[in-house]
């Protein structure tokens, strides 16, 4: 029987273009902020998992475990990088959970970090495309955006839905981000602006795609035993966690729109948490592109209709991306899964201000690697 795992500290940098700060500085800032939030001695951290996708390509820097441990002043910790494309952060949380739940460690840190603005957009784009099959997909000149556009057209074509319905998703996210101090874009956009933005990979338009940005988010996870020695009031438990994969390239899946890895990961994580999907009070979905946001909601009904009815807002049926999601909070890819959990912690602690979901007890973060080729789902419960 796995031991219980709690999140006792959370920290993050604002997402944005941090020209003056390096990858390691962002990671250290988030980590130290989480340590401070936890109120612990950082030397208690026995293990460190760094969620990151592209440091090897954009900074020529691997070995992030030792690098971040060194710069954070915790050399000696069992540290390594966790990579699962844009799902790196969510998978890093999953691995940190396992490290504590196994009973091996009592206090573990997880940092998600990505520094994208060091590179030209074309190089960042090529680095993102490493999430896909290099020999048979990227070889064709496909960009990561265009692969999502393939799904988008398939969805519009199959269900006869108008693009405007799907393009409303980013409008929701921007509205939420206005009240999030950590968000990259704290401004609202209109549907008209989204539909008038330039085509990036038809049918996807610029304002339907999460931006390029830098950022780091960190969490401190600990065991019940550690918590007894270092008690604190506001507690969030990692109630269930799961990672699932799908056939790597969407076009090879029996049904490219099925998002099978998401279904599998949600099923496993909720089972482990002993909850139902309908019990979730706050949801974070992986809206790297508008279509992914909508597809992620399909388990709860027609995704676009939930957006249209305002059901994603605090007070709605299924409050989703209440801090802005990938689109507006920002999507520093390898950090995103950790940011999602950070945002849930804020909600479950009741610290979300104007965007607070009243009485939120259960949250779920869904983090994708590739075109939902890897899905990490983390279910959080408010604990006292």
């Amino acid at each position: 029987m796995a031991g219980r795992v709690y999140i006792v500290g959370a920290g993050a940098t604002k997402v944005g273009e941090h020209w003056d700060r390096s990858l390691r500085e962002l990671a250290v800032e988030a980590l130290l902020s989480a340590v401070k939030d936890a109120g612990i001695d950082k030397r208690d951290v026995e293990a460190l998992y760094v969620g990151n996708m592209m440091s090897g390509m954009l900074q020529g820097q691997e070995h992030l475990g030792a690098l971040v441990a060194t710069w954070a002043g915790i050399p000696g910790a069992a540290a390594c990088k966790i990579e699962a494309a844009c799902g790196s952060g969510g998978v890093a949380v999953h691995q940190a959970y396992l490290a504590v739940a196994s009973g091996l460690y009592d206090c573990v840190a997880v940092v998600g970090v990505e520094k994208m603005t060091d590179a030209l957009p074309s190089d960042a784009s090529a680095a993102l495309a490493t999430a896909e099959d290099q020999e048979y997909v990227v070889f064709t000149g496909a960009t990561f955006v265009s692969l999502n556009a393939l799904l988008y057209r398939l969805y519009l074509d199959r269900y006869g839905v108008k693009q405007e319905k799907v393009a409303a998703f980013p409008v929701h996210c921007h509205k939420m981000a206005v009240n999030n101090p950590y968000a990259q874009f704290r401004r609202a956009v209109t549907l008209e602006e989204v539909m008038a933005s330039p085509l990036v990979a038809d049918p996807l338009r610029l304002l339907e795609c999460a931006p390029i940005g830098d950022g780091a988010a960190a969490l401190i996870l600990c065991s019940e035993r550690y918590l007894k020695r270092n008690p604190r009031d506001e507690l969030v438990e990692v109630a269930g966690t799961a990672v699932a994969t799908d056939v790597l390239s969407a076009h090879e899946r029996r049904d490219p729109l099925a998002v099978a890895a998401l279904r599998r990961a949600v099923e496993a994580a909720t089972r482990r948490a002993g909850v139902e999907v309908a019990d979730i009070d706050v949801l974070e979905v992986h809206d790297a592109f508008s279509i992914l946001g909508v597809l992620s909601l399909e388990a709860r009904g027609e995704g676009w209709r939930l957006v249209e009815e305002g059901q994603l807002e605090p007070g709605g049926k299924i409050p989703t991306n209440t801090m802005g999601g990938l689109k507006a909070r920002g999507h520093p890819v390898g950090a995103t899964g950790v940011y999602q959990v950070f945002d849930l912690v804020v909600q479950l602690r009741g610290e979300a201000g104007a965007n607070q979901v009243e009485g939120a007890e259960l949250g779920m973060a869904q983090n994708f690697g590739g075109v939902a080729s890897t899905v990490a789902v983390n279910v959080l419960r408010r604990a006292r």
Binding site: S122, F139, A142, T143, A149, L154, D202, H251, E252
Partner: protein, 134 residues
């Protein structure tokens, strides 16, 4: 782009890329492109190598307007999922067609084209693209 120029990689994949060599699963009948050791659907090992049909239909497509390195100067170009006769799905570029003339369901046929140069002085990589059937 290629992160590390590699003649062996281009060479190794050449035949499968040039001749549309797919894999047929003896257990579930699944057809995949390219040929590989194990069926992604049922896990069966030992897929039979088959030359896939050269005609098919566009299932979905996207227009690339911000190309990655190695494809600069080609934009806008179209990538598509093509379902070949027999059911194998291939991701490939469409060629000899303007983006605005592409339709889902369009009948296409395989042609042999240049995909990318590993660098301006590097190996040129060729493979199958699809054009509107003529």
């Amino acid at each position: 782009m290629v992160w590390v120029e590699s003649a062996p990689r281009a060479w190794r994949e050449g035949t499968r890329r040039y001749r549309l060599i797919g894999g047929k699963c003896p257990s579930c009948g699944g057809l995949v492109y390219p040929h590989r050791q194990v069926c992604p659907y049922c896990g069966r090992e030992g897929l039979e190598a088959v030359a896939l049909p050269r005609r098919g239909r566009v299932v979905t497509y996207a227009v690339v307007r911000n190309p990655p390195r190695g494809f600069e100067g080609r934009e806008p170009y179209v990538i598509a999922v093509v379902e070949l006769e027999g059911g194998a799905r291939v991701l490939a570029q469409l060629t000899d067609v303007r983006p605005e003339d592409v339709r889902v369901g369009m009948e296409v046929e395989a042609v042999f084209r240049r995909y990318r140069e590993q660098s301006p002085s590097g190996v040129i990589e060729y493979g199958v693209k699809f054009r509107p059937a003529i």
